[in-house]
Amino acid sequence: MNAPRSSPLRSDTSPGPHEAVVGDPVAAQYLQGLADDALVYAQRLGEWISRAPQIEEDMALANVGLDLLGQARALLTRVGALDGTGRSEDDLAYFRDEREFRNVHLVEQERAGFGFEMARLLTFSTYQCELYAALCRSSDPVLSGVAEKALKEVTYHRDHATQWVVRLGDGTEESHRRMQEGLELTAPYVAELFDDDEVSRAAAEAGVGVLPSSLRDACTSHVTSVVEQATLAMPATPRWRARGGRDGIHSRPMGYLLAEMQHIARSHPGASW
């Protein structure tokens, strides 16, 4: 990642991600949650390269990850402007510690079977579709621009996941079993996506963000319709559920993920290539 070149000469256009803004800590924290979700999931999806069931799927998951990484870069750059620290996307991606990441637990979980990945991608891309559709109306011009752009991308991701969930669920006995297993593994991590917290409430109030809980019904309804089409069953309410990611409380895999993602930048500070 390299910081985008600034262009101080343009004053007649909408603010770009580079434009410094007077501090808005609530907006910064809200955007950071969205950015960290995208960044961390991009890192997980990249792990599929050379490990997917087909080479086409290596490409697909890498491309989905690339879209998410692009979204994360634009959002993190904005976070660095909004929080008044002037940190670059690289500073934020590589030099924050675990407790400073605001992503949900769903995206940090270790890569498991392909069925789990498709269940996770269906859940997350459905959430992102609803989220970005709403954020096209954000009062933050950078966030609304990212949302407008990203909406096209995540709609395609959702379509991709949907095709696989239906194909595996409505496939052989074995593929059905594994796809159902993937849904069950995902279940404890779904509720956290729709938790309102102080930051999202304040961001929604200010017109910057949306209340996560307001997205729940549309998401559940979409995922349910796909699951039914796939002849699968929606998992029962899980006995435990993940929480705390937005407050920087993460699960065991997160530290390992960050170690892998950050170690080169930290071993060679300031290196470029």
Binding site: P4, M59, A60, L66, L69, P141, A150
Partner: protein, 171 residues
């Protein structure tokens, strides 16, 4: 230039408009609709350029930006490049010349009318679309993979001539 403005078309403006896309070098950044705004100020020898990515994570953006700055410098201009996300790029901005060149290169151009369909969440697209084979012109083609060699392409195969080919995804 499709929907972008050209204030002054000078040699430097022409050189920037003619920059080839790093991934699909048969089309220019103007053909693709990546170049959104180009303004040349001869008195201060400055060029202002606005570009937009095809996809958020498009890795070609930095190469394009460097090339724009380089072309400006070659003509004795300093250059500011702004990357703008909104309005979001659509394949509808691609010029007819660009579509023709893609076809000749063996890439099926995107279907027109993508932006009219809206960018909101759409119904599942499990149905079969008709895409023409750039090799033989047959519409008897099938999708092999929804994600191709770059973020902006999908992979298809022609059932008539049996050749695989890339399709520029309409967004």
């Amino acid at each position: 230039m499709t929907e972008a403005e050209v204030i002054v078309k000078s040699p430097v403006a022409q050189a920037i408009s003619d920059i080839p896309d790093p991934e699909v070098p048969v089309v220019t950044i103007e053909d693709l609709g990546i170049l959104r705004h180009l303004e040349v100020d001869d008195s201060s020898r400055r060029v202002l350029v606005t570009i937009t990515p095809t996809y958020s994570g498009c890795p070609a953006m930095e190469a394009i930006e460097h090339r724009v700055v380089h072309e400006a410098a070659r003509h004795g201009y300093t250059c500011s490049v702004e990357t703008r996300l909104s309005p979001a790029w659509t394949t509808d901005w691609m010029s007819e010349r660009g579509r023709q060149r893609l076809r000749e290169f063996g890439i099926a151009p995107p279907e027109p009318g993508a932006s009219a369909r809206g960018s909101g969440p759409v119904a599942l697209s499990l149905q079969v679309r008709q895409v023409e084979c750039p090799q033989c012109g047959s519409t008897d083609t099938e999708e092999l993979a929804r994600f191709g060699s770059t973020a902006c392409k999908a992979l298809r195969r022609c059932r008539a001539c049996r050749e695989p080919f890339d399709e520029f995804k309409a967004i």
